[in-house]
């Protein structure tokens, strides 16, 4: 009996089938290539977005450029309101003009999405808006979340 078992195990090879492996790996690869956002910016300011009812979707994501305004998460001046564009914090509001103008030259249909923390004050937002007007980037979007309790306001 035992000799019979031995004989069988010796005969059939116990290899893992590897023929389908490349296909699976390729599929995973393609999936991640498609879904991965290439440049994930690290947001250094806190942006808890306000809620709104009359919101619209931005269909073309490639037109959008973000401006983050909110209290700093870390660092020496923690809690102080700061402006961030892409990966950099903006020290002087006047620099927004130059940055946005460059972006507008690259993408004439630029939409600037203002991701502003709901506790921020309007002064900073107004300053940024004035800079955007100077730069000529007039299409803006106040990023906000869908208000679930629509009738509460």
């Amino acid at each position: 009996m035992s000799s019979h078992f031995k004989k069988k195990s010796a005969k059939s090879k116990q290899d893992i089938p590897t023929a389908s492996l490349p296909d699976i790996i390729f599929m995973l690869l393609i999936f991640f290539m498609v879904t991965t956002v290439l440049r994930e910016t690290e947001v250094q300011v806190r942006t808890t977005l306000p809620r709104a009812e009359a919101i619209q979707k931005i269909e073309q994501k490639r037109l959008v450029s973000y401006v983050y305004i909110g209290p700093l998460k870390t660092g020496q001046n923690r809690g102080a309101t700061a402006i961030q564009i892409d990966d950099a914090l903006i020290d002087d509001v006047n620099n927004v003009r130059t940055i946005m103008y460059r972006k507008l030259v690259e993408q004439p249909k630029l939409i600037v999405s203002l991701r502003v923390d709901q506790t921020s004050e309007m002064g900073m937002v107004m300053d940024v808006q004035q800079e955007l007007r100077e730069a000529g980037t007039l299409r803006i979007n106040y990023s906000s979340r869908q208000d679930r309790s629509a009738a509460s306001s």
Binding site: K11, S20, A52, E53, I55, I58, Q118, G136, Y142
Partner: protein, 186 residues
């Protein structure tokens, strides 16, 4: 001889299940990934004014002034009000058609002006803007229903590329963000 024959049979790899595995993975990722869509309130900023250029003259009665102060209190046409009353007031203002002398002469001339203080919380500003937009959305929906569409969204989708948007023609959304006071800077 029979031993060798058996060995050849076992080397074949079953590939019939590969499609199942692939589909399973695909479905798994389809379910788990969330592609977040950006949402927000769209606005168009007014173009920059030249130094010697004055803002275009607008009749006083055509402007509905909304002021929001540092405490988040609302002043509607110089009268204390609340954020949730704005919507109604905007509709009254825009669809007045010259009846009430306090409101606008015609829908396409009506302007809603929002002015905020530097210390106004952003939250309140967005709520105010939201209310004004909702007022316009409501009016557009009503107008689209008159033209025979269930709502404005359906009407807009049904428009051809060359067709004029009659709803927007009749009630253009004129929301003015007031120029910040020069004196309050710094």
């Amino acid at each position: 001889m029979p031993l060798r024959k058996k060995e050849r049979e076992t080397t074949e790899i079953p590939t019939s299940s590969m499609a199942d595995i692939a589909f399973l993975l695909l479905i798994f990722f389809l379910v788990t990934t969330t592609i977040d869509i950006d949402t927000g309130i769209n606005m168009t900023l007014p173009p920059k004014l030249e130094d010697d250029q004055e803002p275009p003259p607008v009749k006083e009665r055509n402007i509905l002034k909304i002021l929001v102060n540092a405490q988040g209190q609302v002043l509607l046409e110089d009268e204390p009000s609340a954020v949730n009353l704005i919507r109604e007031e905007v509709i009254k203002h825009v669809q007045n058609n010259g009846q009430d002398p306090r409101y606008a002469e015609a829908s396409n001339k009506a302007i809603v002006s929002i002015k905020t203080d530097r210390q106004t919380p952003y939250d309140v500003y967005v709520q105010t803007l939201d209310e004004v937009w909702m007022a316009y959305f409501t009016m557009w929906d009503n107008e689209a229903r008159v033209l025979g569409s269930p709502n404005y969204e359906a009407y807009k989708d049904g428009l051809g590329p060359d067709e004029e948007n009659m709803v927007r023609e009749k009630i253009p959304a004129a929301i003015s963000l007031a120029e910040p006071d020069a004196g309050s800077e710094g």
